[in-house]
Amino acid sequence: MDAVQGGQLEALGELFERHHRQVFLFLRRTTGDAAIAEDLVQEVFVRILKYRHTYDAGSRFETWLFRIARNARADHFRKQGPSPAPVDAALEVAAPDPGPEKQLERRIDAQQLDRALQQLAEEPRDLLVLARYHGQPYERIAETLGIEVGAVKTRVHRAMKQLRAAFFNLEDAPCAVKK
């Protein structure tokens, strides 16, 4: 990134090669739409180039990268109008929860779970994707999201419960859960 800041634009190619995959996967998993994710990856690298002078060399590049990705996504949906209503936190209580023991007896359909993930609000969805798929430690997630580490702990747990509730709420769909 130092080289890019110094005006060596070809060094951006190296950053692209190193990071485009994880940026795409983050955006694909948090938007549920590959075409939007693809556009946004382009937007992220345009912004890196455009705002390269604002990068603080002392901070972690990945954190800055994910922040840009989140902002680009937020701007996209602001332009396109609101995304589908997220699952209300109250659903956690209201959703029919068959109880953990019964859940263990069931096989959770992975794709249905992915659909349930799309129903969560932006922050819990990002928290789960960063923690589960990007293996980010809570300290780094806290930096990316601009919240305290303690808040990440509480909110990841809450997000897991919301996801479980959203999943069982989708249960009516055919083949959602196979006994």
Binding site: G7, L9, E10, L12, G13, F16, H20, R21, F24, L25, R28, R29, D33, A34, A35, I36, E38, D39, V41, Q42, F45, V46, L49, K50, K79, Q80, G99, P100, E101, Q103, L104, I108, D109, A110, Q111, L113, D114, L117, L128, A131, R132, Y133, G135, P137, Y138, K153, T154, V156, H157, M160, K161, L163, R164, F167
Partner: protein, 277 residues
């Protein structure tokens, strides 16, 4: 450890990021607390299932091409030096078969109809020897086929999925002498589609109609759309390639418009250089 504290650490435990001591403490608590045990079972099931969600395919080649185009434009802007068009390649290769079930059905039905018409129009080899197929009937089949392809293409361009719309735009290249509705649909896509990939594909597809006045007018409107610098750059290239007579005046305005993205201003200046040479 209290129950609440233990539960908040389940995800970290499952990710394997807890210190060994804390992890042991958590295990001991869960083993002795029925409620936390039940809660852990639920969280673990979801955590594992998330791991089973297939990893989405990453369109690296396509993204790399677009990235290279962007970088080339940026270099051109920085150096005031023309960038090669080869660097700007922005191709996407749709597979033949659509993904939307409705479109699949429409395509299948169309193929069936074409088959039936062709079967009626083209007599068997034995009969053919006695009486040659009237060329009028073959022409009718061809017209029918073209109309169906056109109908399908227009239908694809109306789909919700950007991938299907991309496919629809690409199919326009396969239609011989497309009707006005195809050109209008491409212009509409260029100006209003919500997805920049689809809009970029539309500008490419419109190249064969560049001598039409409505296409020139549409591209002029598209280049003024500040929401996508990438599209503006692509339209500038289009106008350079097609030697649009209005391009020089337009490029001069763009190159001096401080509200525009640097990439666009640079490309407009490059366009002026190209048209002057």
């Amino acid at each position: 450890m209290r129950c609440e504290e233990v539960r908040q650490r389940f995800a970290e435990y499952l990710a394997g990021s807890l210190d060994a001591g804390v992890a042991r403490e958590l295990e001991q608590h869960v083993a002795s607390c029925a409620e936390c045990q039940a809660e852990y079972a639920g969280v673990e099931a979801v955590w594992k299932a998330l791991g089973e969600v297939p990893v989405p395919a990453v369109p690296s080649n396509r993204m790399r091409e677009r990235f290279s185009a962007m970088l080339a434009a940026e270099r051109a802007a920085a150096d005031r030096r023309p960038a090669s068009r080869q660097d700007r390649g922005r191709t996407w290769r749709p597979t033949f078969w659509p993904r939307e079930p409705l479109v699949q059905m429409a395509l299948a039905a169309s193929l069936l109809i074409v088959g039936v018409i062709a079967g009626r129009a083209l007599p068997s080899r034995q009969v053919q020897q006695q009486a040659p197929v009237p060329s009028r009937e073959i022409a009718e089949v061809r017209t029918e086929l073209r109309d169906m392809r056109q109908m399908l293409t227009l239908s694809l361009m109306q789909q919700q999925s950007a991938t299907e719309r991309l496919r629809g735009v690409s199919w326009t290249a396969q239609i011989d002498q497309p009707g006005n509705e195809v050109v209008s649909a491409l212009l509409d896509t260029l100006l209003h589609d919500s997805n920049v990939n689809v809009r970029l594909a539309a500008i490419d597809a419109l190249r064969r109609f560049s001598d039409r006045a409505d296409v020139r007018l549409g591209t002029k409107r598209a280049v003024a759309d500040k929401t996508s610098p990438l599209l503006q750059v692509a339209v500038i290239d289009f106008m350079v390639d097609t030697r649009d007579p209005q391009a020089p005046a337009l490029f001069r305005t763009l190159a001096q418009d401080a509200s525009l993205d640097e990439l666009v201003r640079g490309r407009a200046q490059w366009g002026l250089d190209q048209l002057a040479s």
